[in-house]
Every structure is written in C-alpha cells, then in structure tokens.
C-alpha cells in the first residue's frame, strides 16, 4: 500500500507547509511566553541560589533580605559562626544603585560579600575574582560592562575585574558584586554636606557637646558615621547537620528570623514576584488556550476540506483505518512542522526580549506532547466527520 498521507502532502505541499509555519508561529509565541515565566522564576531565584547558603539569618520579624529590608550588625555573623552545626557564616549586603559608565546609567543591585564565604560571586565567565579588598567589582554581563571598565557607584569608582552570568535581582536588575567593606560604604555613606550638617547639629546639641566632656561628641559622631551594618547573614551548615535544627537554635538564642533555602525560595516566588508571575502566567494560559483552539480548528477544517477525496476512497473500498491513518499522519506531520518552526522562532526571538527567556527541555517536551495531543484530538474529530461521509456523496453533484 502506498502512503496516502505523504502523497497528499506532496500534492499540496506549499499550502501544507504554510499552514505548518502559521501553526509554528503560534506555538513559538506560546513557547516564548512559557520561557518568560520560567525566566522570571529563574531570575528571582538566581541570587539566592548563587550564594550556596543553607540558611538566611535576617532581622527579626522581616522577610529579608530580598523581599524586605533587614538590618543586622556585622558582628552577628561571628557569633553565629560559633554555634554547633555551623560550617561558616558570612555577612551580605544588598542595595539597588544606578551604576554609571561612559555616560550611561545602569540600574543594578550591589551585593556585598566576604571573600571565600557564602554570598561570594559564583563561577565567573570572564576575568578574575576580586583580590584587592577595595574598589574592585564583579559585574553580571547583563550590565553590559566589560572587564577593565571603570564604573561609578555613588561617589566612588570601581574597576570591573570579572563577569558573572545570569545573576540578577528578583526584579531582574543585574548584580554587581563588591567586597563587603565597599558595599557597606556605598550603603551607608553620606555625602559631604550631610556629614557636615550632622556634625554641626550634634555640636549644637548641648546635651552631647558638654563643656569639659569633648570625648562624648566624638563618640556619638563616630557612631553615627559608622557603617558596621549588613542586611543578612548567610550560613552554611556542616555535613550531617539538619538545617532546620540549626535554624531553630539561632531563632531561639539570637532572636533573629532564619530561613532555609526552601523557605527563601517560596518567599521569592510567592511573595516577591507573585503578582508579576500571576499576570504573565494568566497571559500564558490564555495564549495556550487560544493556540489550542486555533490548531484544533485548523486541523479540523483541513480534514473537512478532504471530504470529497475521502468519499471517493470509501467508494472504491478503502478501509476506515486507511482513511483515518491518512488524516492522523497529516495532522501529526503538521504538529511536527509547527513544533519545529515554533522552536526555531522562539530561539531566534528570545534574545530580543529585555527579560530573561528560559527554555527548559522539560517545557519543550510538555509543549510537544500537548501539540501532538491537540493534533490527534482535532484529527479524531475530523476523522469522525470523515467516516460519517456517505460514499454516494462523492458522486452527488
């Protein structure tokens, strides 16, 4: 038996391929939508994941440091490091800045970290780690900075010595890693005028600037100008210890809020990007439903367009299975073309989006599976219609 489907396709291949491409564009847009949702989730988690920490210790009653502001003194890390089960504990600071380079402003998140401890930049795609403790930066390549670039943050200049990839804040801003000291300075640094004003205000306060006790004014001024604060302490647990138990110990004895990675993940996905995610997800669902309807309709009408040929085939005695096989093969072929075109379209278009578009093999597989199911389902509806055709209708009219 010759393959009727391939003969039919070859006969009207231009139309068939065009239909497949149309389908593919639709699938491609759906894929990008899925990729955007995935990208948003990956982005939100990238910074937390990149720390390789087991616990986040933050200010009591906050959901920091990503969802809310949290402030701790930087000696907290040391006291936590001494607790049983803690491998290492390190300070981190996060703040949003406008980094300037070559007359251009880049919105970025500064992440302050301690050398060789949780929170330091993960693998670099270019350059080297920070070796001097001051005025060096590691930027995410999404900032557009290159190794060797001099960038300005607030009043200081930093040299980019290394690049990371895919390190962004939950809002999608690229991350610039600075050594802790630099980050603290950026975070708590005041401009000269306010330092001057603050000092004058303190000096004018008779309770502080008492005659005969000049040391008091100095101490208070120092305290005010000090920047021994961080946003969170990251903890890595020793092998064989339960993060939950260590977390509970810190909560009980130190009166801080402590989150495990799982909890941090759910804070980021459920609290931080929930609305944006729901919005995009909603759009994705609508798009998927519309695509499904269009694909189903396309294949159904394609089958109906063949009613005459099907009637002739029945007339000359072709079996139902022969006819159904032909329709099914054509529908699946269309699905296959659609999927391939969709995949190519999505891959080409993805880099044009400002936000990350992340294609997971799993998602592609699911979309392929759904496409095939739609094609089969739509062609079954078509086949049902086709098989009800009276052979006599081939010769009527």
């Amino acid at each position: 038996m010759i393959n009727l489907a391939s003969k039919e396709i070859a006969h009207g291949w231009v139309r068939y391929v065009l239909t497949g491409i149309g389908l593919g564009l639709l699938i491609g847009v759906t894929m990008i939508m899925t990729g955007l949702v995935r990208g948003m989730m990956e982005d939100a988690l990238s910074l937390a994941r990149g720390t390789y920490a087991d616990l986040w210790v933050v200010q009591d009653n906050t959901m920091g440091p990503y969802a809310e502001t949290s402030t701790l003194y930087d000696d907290v890390a040391r006291s936590i490091a001494g607790l049983p089960g803690v491998e290492e504990a390190s300070n981190v600071a996060y703040l949003t800045v406008q980094a300037k380079h070559a007359g251009k402003d880049v919105r970025a998140m500064v992440a302050g970290f301690e050398h060789g401890k949780p929170g330091q930049p993960p693998y670099l795609i270019a350059g080297r780690p920070i070796t001097k403790s001051r005025y060096e930066a590691i930027a995410d390549n999404k900032t557009g900075f290159k190794v060797g670039d001099k960038i300005n943050i607030r009043r200081n200049e930093y040299t980019v010595v290394g690049l990371t990839s895919k390190m962004v804040s939950s809002g999608g801003d690229p991350v610039i890693f600075l050594a802790m000291q630099d980050a603290q300075e950026v975070q708590f640094q005041k401009d000269n005028t306010s330092i001057y004003n603050d000092r004058n205000r303190l000096a004018a306060n008779p309770k502080i600037n008492r005659p005969g006790n000049s040391g008091l004014l100095e101490a208070v001024t120092d305290m005010q100008q000090s920047n021994h604060k961080v946003n969170a302490v990251l903890v890595r647990i020793q092998d064989g210890h339960d993060p939950e138990i260590v977390a509970e110990t810190i909560r009980r004895w130190k009166h801080f809020e402590v989150y495990t990675y799982k909890q941090m993940e759910s804070i980021l996905l459920v609290k931080v990007i929930a609305n944006a995610l729901r919005q995009l997800g909603m759009f994705m669902v609508i798009l998927a439903v519309v695509s499904t309807a269009i694909i189903a309709l396309l294949i159904y009408t394609m089958t109906l367009g063949k009613i005459k040929e099907i009637a002739v085939l029945k007339l000359i005695g072709a079996k139902n299975s022969t006819i159904a096989g032909m329709i099914l093969q054509e529908a699946c072929g269309l699905g296959l073309i659609g999927f391939l075109v969709g995949k190519i379209t999505a891959t080409i278009l993805a880099p044009l989006f400002p936000k990350r578009v992340e294609f997971l093999v799993f998602d592609s597989f699911v979309i392929f599976f759904i496409t095939v199911v739609i094609c089969v389902f739509a062609s079954l509806t078509g086949i049902r219609a086709a098989l009800r055709v009276q052979p006599a209708s081939a010769i009527g009219g």
Binding site: H11, G317, I395
Partner: protein
C-alpha cells in the same frame, strides 16, 4: 442453461424500488425494477435523462440502499427489503468495478497509482499492483500519461483511467455509467470492445448505461428504463469490424 440457475451466478434485481426523500417532495426513481445479467454478458441500459439509470446502477453497486426489493450478486443477497449485507465496502472493492458518470479520480495520486490503488487496497504488493495498472493503462491508450495527476489530463483521458481502475481487480461485476460519454468514437468503440472481450474471457457480468448511438448496436441485449420500470429489448449484437 436454466435461466434461474444462470441468474444465480450473476446480477439479479427483483422488484427494486428506490424513492428519494419522503412526502410531497418524494422522487420515485425506481418503481419496481427486475432484471438479470448473466456472467459473460454485456447488457446496455438506456432511458431518458432522469429515468433512474444512475440510481439503478448505484443500488447494484452498493453505493446507495434501495427502498425495497431484492438484489443478488453472484447468488449472494446484498439487499432484501431493508436488510443489507454488512461489509459493502469490501464488496465494492473486490467484486464490483464501478465506472461513474464522471471520473472521480483521487487528485493527489498520479494515473498509475489511481489505478494501482485498487489492487493495493485488496492487499497486493505495490510492484504487482503497479504492473497490473500499467498493463490496463496500455490497453486503454493512456500509458503515456501514467505519471500525470488527474488535473493535468483531459476529461476523456481521466475517464479511461477511471475505467482502468474499475477493471483493476478483475471484478466479476462491472457497472459503467455512461463510460464513453467524454470519449471520441474511436475510443468509445475501443472501450466497449474491451468490455465485451473481458466479459467473454472472465465471465464478467457487465451493465453499461449509454446514450451513445455508436456503441448501442453492439449490445446483444438492452434494458430500457421508463417510468421507473425496466423493459427488456433485443439488441443488434453487431460484431466489431477490424
């Protein structure tokens, strides 16, 4: 040979009625047709336009169901007053060669495959089926267009391919609805001669609907449809001169 016995091997209609629609708009196309075509015989079927020739052929060809009456093919009952045999499609494929008033070829298959699909559907392998198809296309003088699609052929060429398709499975019954209408007189005679030779060689029972005065004299027996009834007439049975 006893007529009843001979008829048991051929095409038999007994009091067949076919009414299209119902009520006031009902069309009584056949009002009780009885006929018999023996193996090896080619019978002509004539009648005015709208007299029910196509209807009769379609009932015989298991394409439409008669309203009442009995139809037997080769002694096998196909319809009996509302009852019908189950697998009519296999019957159409294996036993009946049908030539329609128009060619009804499959547009996406070339001429060779349009013919070869019949033996293929009956389970023959592709090479054998195509060899058989080529043989028939040669006889019908369309083998030079074997690889063309139906849309690239003239009406007459298409019709000859349709005839080849009807003959491809060597069916015991051939029903041809004005097969020569789109053909020139040379090809018309070629077709009718082929059918008569085929009938003689394979004991095929053949009914040919025709208006064509050129081929009519070659039938030995003719049925004429008038007012939904078939009347038998003597034909001239003129031989073909070389």
């Amino acid at each position: 040979m006893d007529i009843q016995a001979a008829c048991s091997k051929a095409i038999r209609m007994e009091n067949v009625v076919k009414t299209y629609g119902a009520g006031e708009t009902a069309v009584h196309a056949l009002k009780g047709v009885s006929l018999c075509v023996y193996p090896g015989e080619v019978v002509g079927l004539v009648g005015a336009s709208g007299s029910g020739k196509t209807t009769l052929l379609q009932c015989l060809g298991a394409i439409i169901d008669p309203t009442s009456g009995l139809i037997e093919l080769g002694g096998e009952v196909i319809y009996d007053n509302g009852w019908k045999k189950e697998d009519l499609r296999a019957l159409r494929r294996d036993k009946i060669g049908f030539v329609f008033q128009a060619a009804y070829l499959i547009p996406f298959l070339d001429m060779l495959d349009n013919v070869a699909i019949m033996p293929m559907l009956a389970g023959k392998d592709n090479d054998k089926a195509r060899a058989r198809a080529m043989e028939l296309l040669k006889v019908l003088e369309v083998d030079h267009r074997a690889r063309a699609k139906p849309s690239e052929l003239s009406g007459g060429e298409q019709q000859r391919v349709a005839i080849a398709r009807a003959l491809a499975n060597n069916p015991p019954f051939i029903l041809a609805d004005e097969p020569t209408a789109p053909l020139d007189s040379h090809r018309s005679l070629l077709v009718i001669k082929l059918l008569i030779e085929l009938a003689a060689q394979y004991q095929t029972a053949i009914i040919v609907v025709t208006h064509d005065d050129k081929i009519l004299p070659h039938f030995k027996r003719i049925y004429r449809l008038r007012d939904g009834i078939a009347y038998e007439e003597e034909g001239m049975g003129r031989p073909f001169d070389e």
